[in-house]
Amino acid sequence: MNKTELAERLIRAASDRVATTPLTDDFPDLDVDTAYTIQDTVVEARRASGAVIVGAKLGLTSKAKQEQMNVDEPLYGWLSHDMHIDTGEPLVCDRFIQPRCEPEIAFLLGEDLSGPDVSAARVIAATQLVFPAIDVLDSRFAGYSFTLPDVVADNSSCAGFILGGQGSSPTNFDMRLTGCVFEKNGSLIATASGAAVLGHPATSVAWLVRKLAERGQGLTAGHIVLAGSMTEAVAVEPGDVVTARFDRLGTVEISCI
């Protein structure tokens, strides 16, 4: 198994917008640790061609999704500057293979965060602002058909993200209870509260920091962390409008063209 070749296969799939087959079809023994090494290779290669890492995102943060994938922990990927869709800008569907949107709470860090002992409380203390956010997923595997090592290697389907136009201090309210209403074209897709994300979105971010510590990595001030989806993902196509309304945090909306 040549990790560099596998990383190149994923990078090519993204740049050509042509889905590939699961890596585990060819290498059934691919494990999650090796998959993160492939992810690192993908991210390094993108950095070498000019991408700037601006943060990270978590996935599989709900019990239902973990059970669906038969795993007992979340996963993460890295966000780069070219994935950021600014508020008011459209989601251009043909930049992606099979885009899907998820509502999330995003943490903008005011301090560096690293180490094996970081807790949710530490995350809240280190957070400058939280934003309502939409995570744009795009699996490089056809039909989102993958196993855990595949999706980890694929930078956890990271493809885009939108932050709402209002940032809030993470203090003085319990994010566990914060309501979220997710709509597509004005129709309700799902509702949730923050506890849908590993019990508390800050717990999710803390898990990420501890997980990164295992690989000698960490987060730095200015990083944005998407804590994990509150609901199931929704597929989007040109003409769709996706809206996530959060109590206390405000609204984030994206038009797809």
Partner: protein, 267 residues
């Protein structure tokens, strides 16, 4: 609408009445008359309610059911359903709920709306409900089906008091003020584990719109919602089965928590 005659409706109401008393489920009404629809269900419900009121039951409010698109799809309808709620079935926060008081009980967390003015259809809008609302309360509904194994069609559940078993209400009635009921988040735990989360919009898009729907639906029946009515506006998540020994807690942003303990026969 089928040719359900008054005698058949009365027989169904009697069968449901006995099922409630003896806690013994009955076969779906639609097994006898497969074409029964929603209006037939309400005809039976009305006779059942009359009989319970004659027994001394007092209507303290209403419950709405089928307030989510998935539930409406499941039962092949495009509107919610409703039933009166009787004062004798209203429990307080922290109450013990006896599992043997029901047949096949399940629980769901909801936002309850308490009115402090009369509300009448047929032109009631969510904004009218806002004006007439004293406040919102954290609530749990215990749903139960007197129909065997929950094998319900829309006619069956409507006839069976919209599958209402009992309700539990928190003690706080929180004024609406600047709250947006659609966005109020809720975490539902069973024995400390999160089993569901949701927000108010799960109830027909807006709990206040759900109350407006009820007022408008009652109007042609010659009924209205009197001041003081408590309306259970619909589940914020999929219903959860219960067992003796379970503790359920629904914690709402802004409204606070409500807890129920499920106890068995010996306790």
């Amino acid at each position: 609408m089928t040719s359900l005659d008054r005698q058949q409706a009365k027989n169904f109401a009697d069968a449901l009445y006995q099922a409630r008393r003896t806690r013994t489920p009955i076969d779906p009404l639609t097994e006898h008359l497969p074409d029964l629809g929603m209006e037939d269900g309400y005809a039976v419900q009305q006779l059942l309610v009359e009989r319970l009121v004659a027994d001394g039951e007092v209507i303290s409010g209403y419950k709405l059911g089928l307030t989510s698109a998935p539930m409406q799809r499941l039962l092949g309808v495009n509107q919610p359903d409703f039933s009166p709620v009787f004062a004798s079935t209203v429990h307080e926060d922290g109450a013990d709920i006896r599992v043997d008081a029901f047949i096949a009980p399940r629980v769901e967390a909801e936002i309850a709306v308490t009115l402090d003015a009369d509300l009448s259809g047929p032109h009631c809008a969510a904004a009218d409900v806002y004006q007439a609302t004293r406040g919102l309360t954290a609530a749990i509904e215990i749903v139960d089906s007197r129909i065997r194994d929950w094998k319900i069609t829309i006619a069956d559940t409507v006839a069976d008091l919209a599958s209402n078993g009992a309700i539990a209400l928190g003690s706080r009635v929180v004024p609406l003020d600047s709250l947006d009921p659609r966005l109020i988040g809720m975490v539902f735990t069973k024995n400390g584990d999160v089993v569901a989360t949701g927000a108010g919009a799960a109830a027909l898009g807006d709990p206040l719109a759900a109350v407006a729907w009820l007022a408008n639906t009652l109007a042609p029946l010659g009924a209205h919602l009197p001041a003081g009515s408590v309306i259970m506006t619909g589940a914020l998540h999929a219903m959860v089965p219960i067992q003796a020994g379970d503790t359920f807690r629904a914690e709402f942003d802004h409204l606070g928590p409500i807890t129920l303990k499920v106890v068995g026969e010996e306790e």
